[in-house]
Symmetry: C2
Subunit: 497 residues, 2 copies
Amino acid sequence: MTKYESYKSRLARIADLGYTMALQGWDQETYMPEKGADFRAQQTATLSGMAHEMSVDKELGDLLKKLSKKKDLTPKQKRNIEESLKDYKESKKYTTEFVEQLSRVTSECFQAWQKSKKESNFKLYAPHLTKMIDLKRKEADILGYKKHPYNALLDQHEPGATVDQLDVLFKDVREQLVVFVKKIAAAKQNDDSFAYKNYNKDKQWNFGIELLKQMHFDFEAGRQDISMHPFTTNFSPQDVRVTTKVIENNLKSMIWSCIHEGGHGLYEQGLPSSEYGLPLGEAISLGIHESQSRMWENNVGRSLPYWKANYKHLQKYFPAHLKNVSLDHFYKGINLVKPSLIRIEADEVTYHFHILVRYEIEKLLMEGKIKVNELPEFWNEHYMKYLGVKVKSDAEGVLQDVHWSHGSIGYFPTYSLGSFYAAQFFHQANKDIKGLQKNIEEGNMLPLLNWLREKIHRHGKFYSAEDLCKKVTGEKLNFKYFMNYAKDKYSVIYNLK
Amino acid sequence: MTKYESYKSRLARIADLGYTMALQGWDQETYMPEKGADFRAQQTATLSGMAHEMSVDKELGDLLKKLSKKKDLTPKQKRNIEESLKDYKESKKYTTEFVEQLSRVTSECFQAWQKSKKESNFKLYAPHLTKMIDLKRKEADILGYKKHPYNALLDQHEPGATVDQLDVLFKDVREQLVVFVKKIAAAKQNDDSFAYKNYNKDKQWNFGIELLKQMHFDFEAGRQDISMHPFTTNFSPQDVRVTTKVIENNLKSMIWSCIHEGGHGLYEQGLPSSEYGLPLGEAISLGIHESQSRMWENNVGRSLPYWKANYKHLQKYFPAHLKNVSLDHFYKGINLVKPSLIRIEADEVTYHFHILVRYEIEKLLMEGKIKVNELPEFWNEHYMKYLGVKVKSDAEGVLQDVHWSHGSIGYFPTYSLGSFYAAQFFHQANKDIKGLQKNIEEGNMLPLLNWLREKIHRHGKFYSAEDLCKKVTGEKLNFKYFMNYAKDKYSVIYNLK
């Protein structure tokens, strides 16, 4: 075996464990009976420990160092080694003591969050979240960073992302998007009451499967199931699992979770199997992953051409509910813009204000400029400022999301990055693909999928997010594409000047 | 950590991998999309290799040897160490070379079997099966045995079982059961055409779930899904998965696969969680496992009291098909005894002739007294002799089952052992539990389940199969219980004297 083959084989074994843990997770969210949880947690912990040992194995480190000095590697091999060495070095920075401490604090913090949210009592959560933030600041020091400690954490979710970059983007959100939403709020509101009648669950499910098929989600290399919170996971590019949620009196939930997760799923199915377990077989970043789900969900799935293709079919599924709802009525109803309290229920425009508030908080926390017990006040003030809504309880305010209790700091911004990348990529796709809007209108999603496969999916981690964006669109990420998309679309919908 | 705790923790880690492989297997048979197979095989192989390494680790061996000399262990701890040391020593007997050779030959043999069955051409299979048998004879030598090489292989599936024991049992089958079936064959045949109408699949499924609930299968610690071939697996006693098969024009398939797998499932759910990963947390043997499934399936699930409890309910599910079928008609129809070619479709009586033929063949193969290419002739002759049926093609003859191609020799007899143990246990249960037949007639399965929990399930591997049988019934396994059960039941059904 050559050194490179030996590296590939080691990484494949680590991936075998990682993907098996993904299977354990999938089963847990879809089918596992409740009493199975304790032993499942133990089984996952065992695999996780073994995978960790293998990824910090000194022999792997030595191999990677030797390979990184080799001159005769192909560019792809070089990139794999570069990324793997980076991962290896990062992993080695953590002491066992720190990892154990983080795991303990996370578990306590999560439990405190659950109780605290249930009782809408932030005080129960505050001491645990404080410990978590202290650890995260320590983690930033352990990892090292330039300029801002938050950069170290951002890099874990969105390699290469920095406060400098995000400050520019979120300044635009604050200055341009907030103003635009105020104009929308002043306009005449549209009706979406048709979406909240009793929609038979089986029919909803079948319609969702048809949408996935239309997107060319490969059901021989994947499947869809039901879970409490929709998600996508995969055990190889040949086995990609998406989930959805079907609610009887909410047609929207199923449709756009299907399309969203389908977008994630197409990315995973498009990664090269030949690079299994290697960086080039993996997604670039959470932001790029999210760009795929959001492009399908919003830029495609909430567009007029998409519903020109699919609305008649949906009417056939639910004639009693929709026969008197025109396409125009439907299209406007599925595109309401309305500031609200809960992030996961937000429309595609005001969504970014939710992220903006979290971004500002996370930055301040990492700088040590705000204390955990000041968060509810800050939160409520900024929800009023950006969204114009009054937060009545912490449960529907600062406590609404689980992520911080898991220690996910630097993660929320990737959601906004996803939308912004999506807008910029989709703008380019419309330039590159002749008649794309017409294709979509005819239900032909293949030209777009092929473009995504060619430009994005097949490369895995070969390019950084920034380089990919430049290569595909000719410039780095620029908020104007999202802003223009929103303006163009919603000026028509809301009849703005 | 004490030495015993350190042993427990090592075994728990091995079990974590083993149960995770069971999850991979379950997913593969139930939900995995077809393209997922290759990477899944690789992932399972990786886990399997790691689990094997851990179970032959010299440190584990040293620990077991030390523990086996300790005087202050409880009887349960002593049994655990005894069994684990036995497993360890057996595992150490295999060289890596032999394991790899067996794995390669198995893979080739399985592929040859598939092709050969498809084309009903035994010749394609013969050279591969010959290699397999040679390896199995070598394996018997590696493992060591007293008296007969077949004993070494039997012991893998049914610890303690021997040719001496089985010869006695199968002599009874040959001499008593064959004669009895001839009497049945001469009697007036009953009608079961009602079972082959169009039975709505969803309704069948719902009825099956109700049967499982009536058996007290714990759906918080388990679930049922659909698979091609029904099976039971588990990831802990708290997470037991049974599967069934629902065929539209065959009501029997779903009902008795449900009850059968439910019986296996109850055994797994009844094993002690406190002994997770240790011998005392595991089933005694395949034969004892099968005794649980077959007791529920046949002694209970094909009995008149059981259908006194459930038939009206079934009629309500399918009034159009069953309203004119009386309970007596139904009961006789679900208990047809009719020699046939295919083992998995056989009734509970003639079933054992299928096993008898296989037992005779396996013994001869292990003795080197029959050659693989002589098998079709031997098979067909003996199917005529014991079952009175003419085998028209090898596909529905010697090629019908996959097991030999997997290297499972010494496995088939456990099916018959299961039925025989079931009859003997059930006979005892009727003596121990006052009004058991009445309980069943009222749909109250709890007294029987509690008896099984108390007498069998909770002990795990504490007793050997033979000792358990003596402890529960006062004597070792005796064919007369099965024979009497069959005579009592079928003399009434077929109106024999």
